[in-house]
Symmetry: C2
Subunit: 462 residues, 2 copies
Amino acid sequence: MNNIQLYINQHKDRFLSELIELLKIPSISADSAYNNDILKAAKAVKTSLQNAGCDTVEICETKGNPIVYGEKIIDKNLPTILVYGHYDVQPADPLDLWDSSPFEPIIKKTKLHPDGAIFARGACDDKGQMYMHIKALEFMTSTNQLPCNVKFMIEGEEEVGSSNLSIFVKENHSKLQNDVILISDTGMIANDTPSITTGLRGLSYVEVEITGPNRDLHSGLYGGAVANPINILTKMISSLHDENNRITIPGFYDKVENLSEKKRNEMAKAPFSLEEYKAALDIDAVYGETGYTTNERNSIRPTLDVNGIWGGYTGEGAKTVIASKAYAKISMRLVPNQDWIEITELFTAHFKSIAPKGITVKITPHHGGQGYVTPTNSIGYQAASKAYEETFGKVPIPQRSGGSIPIVALFEEELKSKTILMGFGLDSDAIHSPNEHFGIFNFLKGIETIPLFFKYFTEFSK
Amino acid sequence: MNNIQLYINQHKDRFLSELIELLKIPSISADSAYNNDILKAAKAVKTSLQNAGCDTVEICETKGNPIVYGEKIIDKNLPTILVYGHYDVQPADPLDLWDSSPFEPIIKKTKLHPDGAIFARGACDDKGQMYMHIKALEFMTSTNQLPCNVKFMIEGEEEVGSSNLSIFVKENHSKLQNDVILISDTGMIANDTPSITTGLRGLSYVEVEITGPNRDLHSGLYGGAVANPINILTKMISSLHDENNRITIPGFYDKVENLSEKKRNEMAKAPFSLEEYKAALDIDAVYGETGYTTNERNSIRPTLDVNGIWGGYTGEGAKTVIASKAYAKISMRLVPNQDWIEITELFTAHFKSIAPKGITVKITPHHGGQGYVTPTNSIGYQAASKAYEETFGKVPIPQRSGGSIPIVALFEEELKSKTILMGFGLDSDAIHSPNEHFGIFNFLKGIETIPLFFKYFTEFSK
């Protein structure tokens, strides 16, 4: 690849301003109030792909949010890379914790991003990372250096479980046929320590509803005499972990992969400072399953976290009420070999079994997906590793991530191809949180590295 | 008292329509958005007292909501009855569970109220019950039968802890001087089973805030490795009860009055059907402290109930977040001899002590008050008992209530007089809940019974 740094230098201001326009669209998939913005974001992605040189671009309707599909086929005998990304974003709340408006992007310097970072919901997850691929394509087509075929599949429901993408993938095997899938929706260790994600956790996300008495009651007249749904919910949730912070659902750990001492020792070599980790979060101690390190707890071990809880009076002041109902959103991160459907069933059966009399339980599975491991000896991994080495000057570290991209396991099952996770975000970029941002260095480094992956993947496939 | 039933029959339609006008005012004290309605309700009470024959009526400003004070002094040598009530109401939410609008009163018949009941927030608690006293005064003055002096003190902060009333009472001993305090803000067993409340529980109401990491985190990247404030909150709250549903706060039961077997046997004679109780709440079992009956659990035993809980993502769909903070509103109902300030301190110390490392705890006491017991051999109780006997044809049953009127203990301490709790509501009237209502039979029976209390109290005081 020739002149890639020159091209980036010449066009980087435009790249940034184009991304900022995309970030202004509040394409929140979890809330149907933003349906029009979802459509607006899909159209913007379509236009970008056309401008970057795709031959065909279409907005594919689904029962939910549309999928933007684009392709540029230069030679059927050459390899085909399928780029996956998403244009939907997480909800922005709590809004009062943002220092700037989540959909009015601004650029600010930070300690870890001395060249500046773009602050906006979706800056890193995943609009910024997805847009790197579109700009990498623009470079390759406008300089006549595209070495292979490319397909884009950019969806709008990643943050709510990709259920319509699953159907689309199942129904479009031949359209989506490829040799490798490329995704930038993960992170790397640090700007001077590149890494490639080789494992993802699976996910089961459920909502529970606890009902006690048929109406809200006065806590004086009924307090102490009937099961209070909120007290009961806290008791039930609390019982899901034992004193070693192991999950108590029967059968939960049955299929969990137990890593060898050797693999755990290798993992422990990744640079990590517990003091810096605690300082970054303002906490005086970490917390988790007995017998595992922090890095193990959030990568190779499964979890159960309450993501939201509500019930009773939550307004200003005091109300002496016993609520009729209480609710929680609970997600479990799963490790390879745990089946998310089986875990959802185990959770459901167990959670219902621990409800006391006088309480009814309703459980609604939201979504889920299997965990995934990428082999480091594959052509795809080797091509990615060489691309990073060339742009960062260092061989990237293979790393298991605690996050989930549930669709990755499905891609392998349906499309029979491996996924390479070339993530350029940092853990501190606050994805899913207030003040999400993405380093300009990282954005431009991604645009520089991706064409090299295309080059080496094509070479290694010969 | 002559012609009281005749007077009520002649004027009952007007009584009802006046009450309905008062109920239309959303005088919610817990939410400052309703401050103007608070003032409107205070003015309406003032006008009603003037029309009912008070000589002096004034709106007394406080640092919070005003207190309406009125009096009619006919002879300084006669006894003085101080009527207390409140014009503020509980918040109306959850609004979607109301069958009609909470501030557009309607009259409907129910199984327990075949003559009809007024449905509105505040119908029973306490506008309807407070208004009985104003109409009873109207009867006595307009028929020249007022047998003693009367003072009214109607406040607007009962539902948020009466903190400014406390100051008002402390600063106005001589203005409020009285021989007995009369309150209708409790219930009775059934329309054919009159009862008088002889005990109230005390209250300590606190809000807790749990903080973990300094920002919301992605539950994939951090899940399992840091203390999740919602999980921790459920664990902390859950640990506040043991397997026998006894409260685990050290020292909590130290001063709890232990009733004799004899007193418990007497209590057990009150008519009560567990099957009807469960059916009315649509629950298949009751729940509470081992070793006590349902009636004991909600009257002579202390409790700890979560009245509200919130944290994390509670919107539509799913968000994979670990919240930085989680919150709960917790109230403890206390029995006589438990000191609410001491219990609040015990709670605070214990709750902070059970937080794991990595979590900080902030506790804000909302309000509280002591429990209270009325002796049945007092002149006031005897006068009330005779009044009920005359209007209901049955001697009323003395009964401990699970509710709290924190100000009652303060009245005794500051004004050195006993309180008589002549309540006419039913437990099923859904106070603090959607579809609160008050039977028309009960409203009119209250207006009929109160003047007889005035008569017998004056006679017995001679």
